[in-house]
């Protein structure tokens, strides 16, 4: 039994381990090639901003990354710079490059991520299913101001969440933050009303339908473009709301799914305020 070891020895040992970790990290870091010699140009990823992977791959060999003597990209490859609001029919029309990677280039990865979140939410609901917890009664009931205020705030928060995931291809944000915002609005409803409970069956149906919509969009891509989760809609002009093809559709599905999932998790975790 190790419990007779003095507390101070354990803390010193922990500090020692943490120190070894940090020192080792920085030593490894200084052993790496110097900043100018690190060949980050071999990565295609930063060329996703060009919205054309084939062309970017051709431009790779002389591209530089923030060096003092920056060598421009290859000139012999024809490349038209992308102008906001003018360039159209690009490979991927999203103005937000991160979104275009998350949903378009690595859409299958995101499908797996949604699956992981679904499994985690199912696990929470499975573990906490049928809880009858004896909890002390709340010291203070939510006041009238709290009750009305959370309801008004919920409408605004809900609209803002929808705004965030509909504009996921134009502004920072997207389906996951939008869904989290909606779930936080529902958490506000829990705070404002005693005994509030969302419609659990409705949440489950909503979540299943939106998850199914994601897969159906992927299968439509498989049928139309011969690749799972391929963009089958016109990409339009960069910067427009109706651009970037299916990205907005998928982010609406993800936002609804994440919103209902996190609301269900909140509902499972919140302590029941039943009368005792």
């Amino acid at each position: 039994m190790m419990s007779d070891t003095p507390e101070i020895v354990k803390k010193v040992f922990a500090i020692f381990v943490v120190g070894i970790f940090i020192v080792g990290f920085f030593v490894t870091f200084t052993q790496m090639p110097k900043g100018n010699e690190v060949n980050v140009n071999d990565t295609v990823s930063r060329f996703y901003v060009m919205k054309d992977v084939d062309q970017a791959t051709q431009m790779l060999d002389k591209g530089t990354y923030f060096n003092k003597d920056m060598v421009p990209l290859r000139n012999d490859v024809p490349y038209t710079p992308i102008t906001f609001g003018k360039s159209s029919n690009l490979e991927d029309g999203a103005a937000n490059v991160v979104t275009s990677i998350v949903v378009d280039y690595r859409g299958f990865d995101t499908l797996g991520e949604v699956t992981v979140l679904f499994l985690a939410a199912s696990g929470v609901m499975l573990v906490l299913h049928g809880e009858k917890r004896k909890v002390p009664k709340k010291k203070t009931e939510p006041s009238e101001i709290m009750y009305v205020g959370t309801r008004i705030a919920f409408a605004v928060i809900f609209l803002f969440g929808i705004y965030v995931f509909i504009h996921g291809h134009l502004t920072p944000g997207g389906g996951f933050p939008g869904g989290a915002i909606i779930a936080s609005g529902i958490l506000g409803l829990f705070l404002g009303r005693k005994g509030y409970s969302p419609n659990k069956a409705g949440l489950t149906v909503f979540e299943s339908l939106s998850g199914m919509a994601y897969v159906i969009i992927g299968i439509i891509g498989l049928v139309a473009e011969k690749s799972f989760l391929a963009n089958f809609l016109p990409t339009g002009t960069i910067g427009d709301l109706f651009s970037a093809g299916f990205i907005a559709l998928i982010y609406i599905a993800i936002g609804m799914k994440v919103g209902s999932e996190l609301s269900a998790v909140t509902n499972a975790m919140i302590v029941d305020t039943e009368e005792d």
Binding site: V18, F29, V40, I82, P172, F176
Partner: protein
Amino acid sequence: MVDFLQNWVYLTGSMALIGIGLYIVLTNTNIFRIIVGLNIIDSGTNLFIVTIAWHPKSVMPIYTATNNLVVNGHVIAADPLPQSLVLTAIVIGLGTTALALAIAVKIYQKYGTLDVRKIKEEDR
């Protein structure tokens, strides 16, 4: 190395977060505190991944009316791929934290404590 460490503030911050989280996980016996420590390690890792793809001169990888990502043939945007990976990691971290907390609730109901040592003694 100096060029690469221009973002040393964030690197040091991420390493400090990972170190703090590691210390919490090593020294605490309460399961809830261990989960909090793992969360801090998660944040530090995410900050580190974003930091190594960032540069003080870089701009955000979003096209707007005034934000051009390719200027005179130079790509001046931050690398968008690690940012998207971190977007994935944040969501998965949230899911695993929720599941861990739910299991912690069950452990508390069974043993009446969250201290791993007492749980071990009760199991004997």
